[in-house]
């Protein structure tokens, strides 16, 4: 049994280089730099809020829970998709400005805010809900712990879009469902209670479906929930290959 004694807390000088875009006046994003003092344990989100509160109230970003469970604040930090509330200053190189930008591949609305509608539409398109047939039992449906574990990983998804907007195929191809939608389908395809697998596999077998995936693993690297996204996509591909018609 050990205890951790926090180090002496010292504020550090941190500069954020933020891609700003004001839709009413700008044609394209431009970068602005903001310097603040922050604790090593501060979240990037804390610093963004500090800039908004103390320096420039026009800085616009989404946020809610601030501890990585609501999925509001996916952004690009030094070129990688991250949640602002799960990235700590101490984990960044602050010798140079920290580059903060909106996630890529969705229409830019303002500063760090993108239009999430195409992303949620892709999710809705894969029928992300339990489909059952036959008689409903009076009590709960039974499910073994093993069957429950089969799809546990993909139930963790918070729909933050870190995976989908890190995918090069998604960037270049407006039609691809993207990794998240496949994760969303996986969660039901591998649920022993569900009987809609064929419907979902048909959707994912289409032009916009899983075969677009080029297995670059960007999605797995980007997932703030540690979901093995690429593996889930591979499992869906295998389910399609071994499906009995």
């Amino acid at each position: 049994m050990t205890t951790t004694v926090p180090e002496q807390i010292k504020r550090l000088d941190v500069t954020f280089k933020i891609a700003r875009f004001i839709p009413e006046t700008d044609d394209a994003p431009h970068y602005e730099e903001y310097s603040v003092q922050a604790l090593p344990t501060d979240r990037v989100l804390t610093v963004l809020q500090q800039i908004k509160d103390e320096i420039d109230g026009t800085l616009t970003f989404r946020r809610s829970c601030a501890h990585g469970i609501c999925g509001s604040d996916a952004i690009r930090i030094n070129g990688r998709n991250r949640l602002a509330c799960k990235t700590l200053i101490k984990d960044l190189n602050i010798k140079k400005p920290v580059v903060v930008e909106a996630i890529k591949g969705l229409p830019l609305e303002k500063d760090l805010v993108v239009d999430m509608e195409p992303f949620f539409q892709a999710y809705r398109d894969v029928m992300p809900f339990l489909i059952t047939d036959g008689h409903e039992p009076t009590r709960e449906r039974l499910q073994s712990a093993e069957d429950r574990a089969r799809f546990d990983d993909t139930t963790k998804c918070i729909l933050c879009a870190c995976c989908t907007t890190s995918c090069p195929v998604f960037w270049s191809d407006g039609q691809y469902f993207g990794p998240q939608a496949i994760v969303g389908a996986h969660r039901f395809i591998f649920d022993s209670r569900d009987s809609g697998t064929d419907l979902r596999l048909d959707i994912l077998n289409s032009q916009e479906g899983v075969w677009r995936c080029r297995t670059t693993f960007n999605c797995t690297d980007a997932c703030p929930r540690g979901i093995e996204v690429t593996k889930a996509i591979q499992e869906v591909k295998r389910a399609l290959m071994f499906r009995r018609d």
Binding site: T4, T60, F129, R141, S144
Partner: protein, 582 residues
């Protein structure tokens, strides 16, 4: 300005709002308005479980659950409401399972259940396994499952529409709709509706150290209060014992349900002294007070001796990783502490409002102690039914949103089916237009961030776990001064699209109102009961205070506002108050 028409408008897309929408949407034309996206709602942050006396793993029944809820609420619970909640809990859990919720399972494949604070066998004999759970992301799975079923049913959402006002009919007798700001465009929309359901959540952001989201700013509660309608029991605010020290990020009580132990700096399991029977699984108010007491008496840990430890190190690593994966990660990410091998620094964090918009058991909003406002409903944390009384038991919030969310959806739709579409007043958005342009055009020198910070600091300092007349008076004068400063608040962002600075300014106005109501209620409640602990009145006083506080906004002749208090009797059915020992 666009005008929309619906039978039912639901404000808020967390658990209560979406559970209501699933019922309302099949019965009447329904729209759900949320200032976020549905999956961002804070229901998703709930971790530990949802209690129901399924008796899947040991003997249990809903009457024991009812008793625990009433005793846990320190006898301020309306007992008829608690009975309904605990009875309907069983179907509520089964409904969620049928909707697809991936509960953890027993070896027989049934829904697994674990222990939780204040939930006991046979009226307090020992802790009982009553909480149904999905690892430590039960709220996340409830939110996802409800959203998925809303997609299945084709529920109509207006995402990122921030509701700013409730519109009443010309005669002021019934609801006529709501006014909302579309964040993407800055445009105002009027939603004309036969029924309105508020399901807008809590207001934890009045405090600095809180488990609550940035967006939990009490908008719905504030709107109702500004309409002259009462708020109930606002002084009862729950501080969850195990927030990550210094940050307030929630670590579920389920950690103690799985066998976790609280220890002071000497390694002592101090809860044995405060609650000898159920120890670390005592209700939250008692545990939070015990933790503060340990720190005050010099047994706090850390360089500033200002927190205690949550100890999971004696539990098998596999149990921690499979049943408590999220909180394990929170401790690793935010404090750099690994719960499998290290003690986790914890301290109480502002968590849940027991009070809110008063409703009856049909979720109809009350305009006084007895009369309902036709067409207006409230459910979830923003409402006060009151099933939580002076202190909510862990898991009963997820239960509340499912049971009363469902009831609200049914009641609002059934009312709408039999009602005419109300006429709108001539200028339904005039109040909101004034509020928005006032903030947008203000040239005052006050900043939103500064006032918010000052409010949160005084509330943490003076209206937290322990309160006295002196601290509460300090909080009140600070909040009132901040309300004065708020009149000169100005924003930098003059744009229309995604003006989140305007949004934050409006939210701050609601927070200041609610902070004032909380403190005034707390000042006048000269007793200690549940989550409200007065050091100058240390015992519960059933003779004078076994009654609900009803707070009204009073507008004086010169336009100044203040809080006027009235009281409402507690509904007692079969449980007479007794001493609360665990």
């Amino acid at each position: 300005m666009q005008i929309h028409q619906y039978d039912v408008v639901i404000v808020g897309a967390g658990g209560a709002g979406m559970r209501a929408a699933l019922e309302s949407g099949t019965r009447a034309r329904t729209a759900v308005l949320t200032k976020l996206y549905p999956t961002r709602s804070h229901t998703g942050a709930a971790q530990g479980g949802m209690c129901a006396a399924l008796a899947n793993v040991e003997e249990d029944n809903w009457e024991w659950h009812t008793f625990d809820t009433i005793k846990g609420g320190d006898y301020l619970v309306d007992q008829d409401a608690a009975e309904i909640m605990c009875k309907e809990a069983i179907d509520a859990v089964i409904d969620l399972e049928k909707m697809g919720l991936p509960f953890n399972r027993t070896p027989e494949g049934r829904i697994d259940q674990r222990r939780f604070g204040g939930h006991t066998r046979n009226h307090g004999e020992a802790a009982v396994r009553r909480a149904c759970y999905a690892a430590d992301r039960t709220g996340h799975m409830i939110l996802q499952t409800l959203y998925q079923n809303c997609i299945k049913q084709g529920v109509e959402f207006y995402n990122e529409y921030y509701v700013l006002d409730l519109v009443m009919s010309e005669d002021g007798q019934r609801t006529a709709g709501v006014v909302a700001l579309e964040l993407a465009t800055g445009q105002l929309h009027v939603f004309r509706a036969k029924s309105v359901v508020f399901a807008t959540g809590g207001f934890g952001k009045v405090f600095k150290t809180t488990s609550n989201a940035h967006t939990l700013t009490g908008d719905g509660i504030g709107i109702v209060y500004r309409k002259g309608l009462p708020l109930e029991d606002m002084e009862f605010y729950q501080f969850h014992p195990t927030g990550l020290a210094g940050l307030g990020v929630l670590l579920t009580e389920g950690a103690r349900g799985e066998g976790g132990i609280l220890r002071n700096k000497d390694g002592e399991r101090f809860m044995e002294r405060y609650a000898p029977t159920i120890k670390d699984l005592a209700p939250r108010d008692m545990v939070a007070r015990a933790m503060v007491q340990e720190v005050r008496e010099g047994r706090g840990a850390g360089p500033d001796a200002d927190y205690v430890y949550l100890d999971l190190t004696h539990l098998p690593a596999e149990q921690i990783e499979t049943k408590l994966p999220d909180i394990t990660e929170f401790a690793r990410t935010y404090l750099g502490v690994d719960p499998i091998t290290e003690l986790v620094p914890v301290f109480p964090t502002a968590h849940y409002a027991m009070g809110g918009i008063p409703t009856n058991i049909e979720t109809e909003v009350l305009r006084d102690n007895d009369t309902v406002v036709p067409g207006l409903y409230a459910a979830g944390e923003c409402a006060c039914v009151s099933v939580h009384g002076a202190n909510r038991l862990g898991t009963n919030s997820l239960l509340d949103i499912n049971v009363f969310g469902r009831r609200a959806g049914i009641a609002a739709a059934e009312y709408a089916v039999g009602a005419e579409l109300p006429d709108l007043p001539e200028n339904p958005a005039v109040f909101v237009e004034g509020m928005v342009s006032g903030l947008r055009d203000s040239e005052g020198g006050e900043r939103v961030g500064e006032i918010r910070k000052a409010m949160q600091e005084t509330m943490d300092m003076n209206a937290q776990v322990y309160r006295t007349e002196t601290t509460l008076k300090q909080a009140l004068s600070d909040v009132q001064e901040l309300q004065r400063r708020y009149r000169n608040v100005a924003i930098h962002d003059k744009g229309q699209r995604y003006n989140t600075e305007l949004l934050e300014a409006i939210e701050l106005g609601f927070l200041l109102d609610l902070a004032e109501v909380l403190v005034v209620g707390a000042l006048e409640r000269k007793e200690s009961r549940g989550g409200h602990a007065r050091e100058d009145y240390q015992t519960r006083d059933d003779v004078n205070f076994m009654r609900h506080t009803m707070a009204y906004r009073h507008v004086g002749e010169n336009g100044d506002t203040s809080v006027r208090l009235d009281y409402k009797p507690v509904v007692v059915t079969r449980y007479q108050p007794m001493e609360r020992k665990y």
